[in-house]
Symmetry: C2
Subunit: 218 residues, 2 copies
DNA sequence: ACCCTTAAACTAGCGGTGTAAGTTTTGCCG
DNA sequence: CGGCAAAACTTACACCGCTAGTTTAAGGGT
């Protein structure tokens, strides 16, 4: 089968199908041949549109990251901006949990990740944080979000009570974690995020703006 | 070459060599044949000691997690215990950054991870935290540590200034991140951890022990 | 209208992967 | 000392990422 009348593949179609495949069957099932089959095509044909498998994965990762909303940093309230961003970030990652491990490594070359870092850093500096602090805060939040999306705490547990009761005295109810997976993970994220922001606000009041802090901003 | 006088492989030797190989050359270079070659052996021989490749990786992951110190939870100061644990956890993971993505997924079956979760959960409950809260706190800290070890923020950036100056106005100095990689990551971790613990202490004072908080514990 | 370049699919194939199956020799136990 | 289990081996299968070369169609230039 030679060149068809109408191209059967486009970069966008490949990325969408790759995303769906990874979502549905996980990273190990994602091979170039499998993806090609899903597209009704023969494997090496993908290499007319992408140079390597990793290039496809980078495109998927960039699309996922592109869904994160950083518009809050345009406003004046940096705490609210961080909170909205973190939740949006988490939502984007948990929508495609299987690519998170890939996505979390080496974001420094992907445009969407850079745009996100730029927006966060700029917003924090504008709010008065010293540049070095702004970098640390952005990184710390990224750690927290990526970690929460990567290793769903609850998902790791198994529904077999016997496994835990014997050796881990305090985890007698750990098998219940598997049931309430989503609520445990979201609860842990909410608690941790609030604590983080609380601590950062205290640091801000102490070091950046001792005068204005505590008053209604204006 | 049949069965030798003295076995050339043991589970421990395999795990140690696997760890060294992953540390030195990364996860993609870790194949059963490559590992076997490193051990002076022929590939399938490994299957006399482990059923699958993943079983080897699980053993490596468990060893890494086993190095985490949770002894602080035996004491009375839960904040100090969390801090010590988090740093020890981070040290254990950053000592072997290449297996972190694997390690962070599905810890619910590995003994060392379960023992760690048990110690943390038990310590927090003993300190007065409600069980649900204790679960959330342990998970939140785990998110933060795993995220920090997984996606070294700075490592993602590249030493090419041109790449950032053009499109990301606030990242003009991002290429410097590559130089100060370790200090950026540690600084971000220290800042985030302190903020998290500060926020948790405030929550504790508000909901768990409004009377004792603020006084010297006794 | 024709040619020529380029695009986009194909087939064939290389070296590598995890792992199953069966073989051989050794050490140990009854 | 016979027999069994252990621990190495060889062979082989199906799959993997990717390269090379082939075939045909689309589209632009003269």
């Amino acid at each position: 089968m030679p060149r068809p009348r109408q191209p059967r593949l486009t970069r966008q179609l490949i990325v969408e199908t790759a995303t769906a495949l990874i979502d549905a069957e996980g990273m190990p099932a994602f091979s170039t041949r499998r993806l090609a089959a899903e597209l009704g095509v023969r494997g090496p044909s993908l290499y007319n549109h992408f140079a390597t498998k990793d290039e496809i994965l980078d495109a998927v990762a960039d699309t996922v990251t592109g869904a994160v909303d950083t518009s809050g940093f345009a406003g004046r309230d940096w705490v609210a901006a961080l909170r909205d961003w973190a939740w949006s970030y988490r939502r984007a990652l948990t929508a495609h949990p299987n690519i998170v491990p890939y996505l979390a490594q080496g974001p420094g070359r992907r445009p969407a990740a850079l745009a996100m870092a730029d927006a966060v850093y700029g917003g924090l500096v504008r709010a008065g944080w010293p540049p070095a602090r702004a970098t640390h805060i952005g990184a710390a939040l990224r750690y927290f979000v990526a970690g929460s999306a990567l290793g769903s705490f609850a998902r790791g547990f198994v529904e077999d009570p016997e496994l835990y009761a014997a050796h881990y005295p305090h985890l007698r109810q750990a098998h219940r974690l598997a049931e309430h997976q989503q609520s445990v993970d979201e609860g842990a994220f909410a608690l941790g995020l609030d604590a983080l922001l609380h601590g950062l606000a205290a640091e801000y009041a102490r070091t950046v703006d001792p005068v204005e802090s505590g008053r209604p901003s204006g």
